[in-house]
Point group: C2
């Protein structure tokens, strides 16, 4: 595993050992990239990390990510060295390829239900953006949270995946880690209701203690600080480098 | 298998035999629902079809499709009778559950590459809407087609899935079946280039002869007529019923 500063326009391609180990193109504060990091770490898949400055992207990024997005996973050990994109596709690939610590259930119906739940999390991510970018009211965000509060009740387990975190838990976690940014933006309007979201709140506390969440964790203060610099037009990508 | 007219607001729930057979909530002209039909037919999965009037939706649709979209697959033979949504999740579920005629490759990398290709087809579907709804120029649609023309070349096979149609072929087909609507809307501006898209054009001709494509086919004239009635605000859902 490696890391370093975020590479920008004009940066040469990083020199990495010719070891056949997958290379993850990422950005330290990107919630979608975080899904890939959590999966790689939870499944103990050796990998290299190449951080990308998303404001001024390096010219060679297009070779690994045609839409210039992160995460992208460059499989240098495979024939023709293909690169994968789309966080959920990358995560499913890793889960199918590496048997250690399976994240998705094996049963087709349960797999489908977990994928639908993550798909419905789109209501959370879109309302996150509405609040952060357009200073919207949080009501619709809480309505989206209701789905997940209710689901934890239906499943009757501490985690969405049962007695330990799995696919749903890790795929939705990055946005819960960033709730402090919502709180910062909304100020007095932040009214997360611990009674309404009792199960989700307990789940957040448990997730904060998870080994793999901790392996790629950013503190509330750091998330807020990154958001502030990004909003001001000078995103401080290397704040933690 | 059954079918019938599209059920609207006020319609009672359809009376279906208590046979444990999955029920597909669909709309005859919906390209996303068509993905589920093609998969059910190609894999010979017995099922009932319940067509939904998407302009005036029946009150009970929410019980099977929380976002009121089609397709939804109601698994009445499973415990708690869950319903699945999202066309690609439904198709993957069917492919994992029913071994006959596998559509996705078994190899994790090939699976991921097929899923990425279908994800990138979003550039086609969004440009379709821009032309149909906003009367946009077709240039970006053809640029999106380039990806698929190039991919057929790279794969070196008649179909995206090899010597017979598979996941990618059936997932993208519904929009190619609707190209005549684009032609109708664009009139003189329609400039599909048979040389530029030689491989795609040959693939279209092959797909038109496929047993399962034919099992749920709508003619160019019918697609155009449905689009005309829909655009005029009185979508003729039951045109083929």
């Amino acid at each position: 595993m490696s890391a370093g500063k975020h590479l920008a326009k004009g940066s040469p391609r990083p020199a990495l050992p010719d070891d056949g180990v997958p290379r993850l193109y990422s950005m330290r504060f990107c919630p979608y990239a975080q899904r890939a990091h959590l999966t790689l770490n939870a499944k103990k898949v050796p990998h290299h990390i190449i951080y990308i400055n998303l404001t001024e992207k390096p010219e060679w990024l297009v070779d690994y990510s045609p839409l210039l997005k992160v995460p992208a996973l460059h499989l240098v050990g495979e024939r023709n060295q293909p690169a994968l994109i789309e966080s959920l596709i990358i995560v499913e690939y890793l889960d199918e390829k590496y048997p250690e610590n399976p994240l998705l259930p094996k049963d087709p119906l349960q797999r489908a239900q977990d994928k639908i739940l993550v798909e419905r999390f789109g209501a959370v991510t879109s309302n996150f953006m509405k609040i952060i970018v357009h200073n919207a009211e949080p009501d619709e965000l809480w309505t989206a949270f209701d789905i997940f509060e209710e689901e934890l009740g239906k499943r009757g387990s501490a985690y969405f995946s049962g007695s330990k975190p799995g696919f749903v838990d890790y795929m939705i976690w990055p946005w819960f880690e960033r709730l402090p940014v919502i709180k910062f933006v909304l100020e007095d309007r932040y009214n997360f209701d611990v009674k309404r979201f009792a199960k989700l709140n307990a789940w957040i506390e448990l997730m904060l203690k998870d080994e793999w969440v901790k392996s790629f964790y950013v503190t509330p203060e750091q998330h807020v600080e990154f958001w502030r610099t990004r909003k001001a037009g000078n995103a401080n990508y290397d704040m933690l480098a």
